[in-house]
């Protein structure tokens, strides 16, 4: 018995060590770096205690970027959920076109974010891009897509929605296809119309999958970076600067490695706490109430 346990441990050990190496070491190293003053002028891992963390609490630009990120992430994920759900419902019964639709919807998700961001930047170029050309053809005035704070935020959300709605669609479509048929038959026998069936049967049955999809997307959306980097560079001013872009600026542009590490650790802690609360709340209200 003892020998069997030992063999199990021996076989598990390489995997565990690799796991520790690729997950825990970078995290531990980042935490250590966050207590150093490593920058262009002071190389290496000196010890400056909590200086970076106290600086961080007074750094208004970081907290603004965090709240901006929250607004952008929530808005885009909710839009992606609504659109993805609507599209999944549309093709749910259309078995003939399901394969084609899936392929078509996979395209935005499969493209490289940076490349797509460059294309979107060209589309929204205010004097040369087709977006304003189209508006002028329709007799409408030009929109300052990238030089107005509101519109620049809209563009960032729009690009994220374009890229990630297919993910939501595929996940929700898979959920819909896995639903048992009996509740729908019962609803039909009871004379429930499509809207009532949706709110009383489909939506509650889809609640666990919806919560999973929303959380996965929120985690991903909270790291939004490529779109901001390529399309707006955080501008105009700082109006589209998100936390990850701000950390990138501090770490790799300004070369404040220690401070950027402190920002990253703080950001990680905030995200874990927030996403845990959101996941629990969603589970409580959607899954329990729906079930």
């Amino acid at each position: 018995m003892y020998g069997l346990t030992r063999y199990k441990l021996l076989f598990l050990l390489p995997g565990l060590l690799i796991l520790l190496g690729i997950i825990l070491f970078p995290l531990g190293f980042t935490i250590r770096v966050s207590f150093s003053g490593w920058d262009a002028a002071r190389p290496g891992l000196d010890w400056i205690g909590g200086t970076n963390y106290s600086r961080l609490f007074a750094d208004g630009r970081f907290w603004e970027s965090l709240s901006r990120l929250g607004a952008i992430a929530f808005t885009s994920v909710i839009l992606e959920y609504l659109l993805g759900f609507a599209l999944a419902l549309l093709v749910w019964r259309q078995v003939r076109f399901r394969r084609l639709t899936r392929v078509l919807f996979l395209i935005p998700m499969m493209t490289t974010p940076v490349v797509m961001a460059v294309i979107w930047r060209t589309i929204f170029h205010e004097s040369l891009g087709p977006a304003n050309d189209l508006l002028s053809l329709l007799g409408m005035g030009s929109i300052p897509w990238l030089t107005n704070s509101f519109w620049a935020t809209v563009v960032v959300i729009l690009v994220d929605v374009w890229q990630w709605t297919p993910f939501m669609f595929l996940l929700l479509l898979a959920g819909l296809l896995s639903l048992p048929r009996e509740p729908f038959l019962a609803a039909a026998i009871d004379g429930a119309g499509p809207i009532r069936t949706f709110f009383n049967v489909t939506f509650p049955a889809m609640a666990p999958i919806s919560v999973g999809a929303l959380i996965i997307r929120l985690i991903e959306a909270s790291k939004i970076m490529e779109t901001v980097y390529v399309i707006t560079s955080g501008g105009p001013g700082t109006s589209t600067e998100t936390s990850s872009y701000y950390i990138f600026i501090r770490g790799l542009r300004d070369f404040q490695i220690g401070y950027a590490a402190a920002l990253s650790v703080t950001y990680l802690v905030i995200m874990i706490v927030l996403l845990t609360i959101i996941a629990k709340s969603l589970s409580r209200y959607l899954v329990k109430n729906g079930a």
Partner: protein, 510 residues
């Protein structure tokens, strides 16, 4: 006996002459250069070296700007010497950290580095001084004072000049010299249309020529295209504008800081005036102009949409491409100046009869050899070869390479007319503008101190917030000044002062 010796000598001379001629023609045919110019860095001299079995590692910018000539000359160097040359291309945003991290962690990753010259304040501890024999080479002796200054740290040359950069004004001569345009401008402003001598004039010309089709191609045109995107080199555009108001020709001891107290000057009335005019100009930019990076600026001026622009050479070279619709319809001029300049010694504005100009010797591409390199001789030979007369002459003619005039011999207008077919007036305006910056006694250099990226990033954020209307120019620059104080405190006031003293020495012509 004497006759035999004479015959032998003549034969030897003839043989050497013929082989030299043959070799020179051979290099021209093999490598696409015009002529190999004899010297220690020539094709023939480098061909005589044997670096077989040795490896040279180079880090440079992405293709094409500087990356393409680096790779081209690396391949040629390999062919000539038998060395193995590895070239790593990195986007500009990643270049600093890709160079710095190996240095800080004690690795010997690269022998040769190509990077922005303003990083000398951070990189100087890791760079090898240029040996005397290279400093004494004819090519190096021909480098202008500005770029020798840019390459020097602590009286030692540690950067190898391969490019010359500065900001200057570019404008459309066909519009400025058009009587109809002149009449329209006069009727709107009450004064003659002249090449702007101050930034107020620049903004006025830009305003009058914005939002209508003055080129007659059916598309709207605009007065000015400027690099205004926050993280896309906008800080350099702001320095160009603010220098005229904040760099007083008679005030010594610092432009960005007061060297004595290390008090930031970035929020003094001169800089604020520069930013106010930058914000004012933004109202007349093309749609999306506030999001223009360097590429957009090049395209807007070089493509004929904008009447004027100011930054590096690229837009000018783009306008002069063979297929450009505005080829030979452009000219160069010094950056506009200011009639009133802030005097931080007296705390007053001083008036000037002739606008005071402060040429901005902005950062550009430079190169260096790592102090940790085990192949320094080969590394310097590569840089020497990269910038030999034949290669430089060829590289100057290819706009996308990003190699711009930096030697006295490059300021011969005949080169630009003969080789590139530029009009004589245009070529003259170009070389006179560029060479004139060298002789100025009121030059502004980059803030070449440790942590320069932090200072510039902070400044760009402040300027961008003013342009976006998130803060007034004064509020924005007050915020920048407060952040600069924190950066100085973090890096160490003495460290920054010691480095900044070298910049001040250049600006004060010491």
């Amino acid at each position: 006996m004497k006759t035999r010796v004479l015959i032998s000598a003549v034969s030897m001379f003839a043989l050497i002459s013929s082989s030299t001629t043959f070799a020179s023609e051979d290099y021209a045919a093999r490598f696409g250069i015009e002529n190999d110019v004899p010297g220690m860095c020539s094709y023939a001299s480098i061909d005589a070296k044997d670096y077989s079995g040795q490896t040279l590692n180079i880090i440079t910018h992405a293709i094409p700007v500087m990356g393409e000539p680096t790779a081209l000359h690396a391949k040629q160097f390999e062919e000539l010497t038998g060395a193995t040359v590895n070239v790593v291309h990195v986007p500009f945003g990643d270049l600093f950290q890709r160079i710095m991290i190996p240095f800080q962690t004690g690795q010997n990753a690269y022998d040769v580095l190509f990077y922005g010259s303003l990083w000398i304040g951070d990189l100087n501890p890791y760079l090898a001084p240029v040996p005397e024999k290279y400093r004494n080479s004819p090519g190096m002796q021909d480098v202008t004072r500005n770029y020798i200054d840019v390459a020097t740290w602590d009286d030692q040359m540690i950067q190898y000049p391969v490019d010359g950069d500065r900001h200057y004004l570019k404008y459309r001569t066909d519009i400025f010299e058009n009587p109809d345009m002149q009449a329209r401008f006069k009727s709107e402003t009450g004064r003659d249309l002249t090449v702007p001598a101050t930034w107020e004039e620049y903004n006025e010309v830009a305003r009058v020529f914005s939002g209508w089709d003055w080129s007659g191609d059916g598309n709207l045109n605009y007065g000015s295209a400027e690099v205004a995107k926050r993280d896309d080199l906008m800080f350099s555009a702001f320095i160009s504008r603010a220098a005229a108001y904040a760099k007083h020709p008679n005030v010594k001891g610092g432009f960005f800081f007061d060297l004595e107290t290390m008090e930031p000057q970035i929020n003094n009335p001169g800089f604020v005036k520069g930013l106010e005019l930058f914000v004012e100009a933004s109202r007349d930019w093309a749609p999306g102009g506030a999001n223009f990076g360097l590429g957009d600026e090049i395209f807007a001026f070089g493509g004929g949409q904008a009447l004027m622009s100011y930054s590096w050479d690229d837009a000018f070279i783009q306008a002069q491409q063979e297929d450009s619709p505005i080829r030979n319809q452009v000219a160069a001029a010094p950056l506009p100046g200011a009639s009133e300049v802030w005097n931080r010694d007296t705390g007053q504005w001083d008036s000037f009869d002739e606008p005071s100009r402060a040429p901005y010797i902005t950062w550009g591409w430079t190169s260096a050899v790592s102090d940790r390199s085990e192949n320094k001789e080969m590394a310097f030979d590569y840089l020497c070869f990269f910038s030999n007369e034949a290669n430089t002459e060829s590289d100057l003619q290819i706009g996308r390479f990003g190699v711009n005039p930096y030697r006295e011999s490059h300021f011969d207008s005949a080169f630009w007319t003969d080789k590139l077919g530029w009009d004589a007036d245009l070529a003259t305006s170009y070389v006179e503008t560029l060479s004139g910056m060298d002789s100025s006694q009121n030059r502004v250099f980059d803030l070449r101190v440790p942590g320069v990226s932090q200072f510039m990033s902070s400044m760009a954020t402040g300027v961008a917030s003013a342009i976006a209307g998130q803060a007034t120019p004064q509020e924005a620059l007050d915020g920048v000044a407060a952040e600069w104080k924190q950066i100085v405190d973090r890096i160490g006031v003495d460290t920054v002062r010691e480095a900044y003293a070298r910049v001040v020495a250049l600006e004060d012509n010491q």
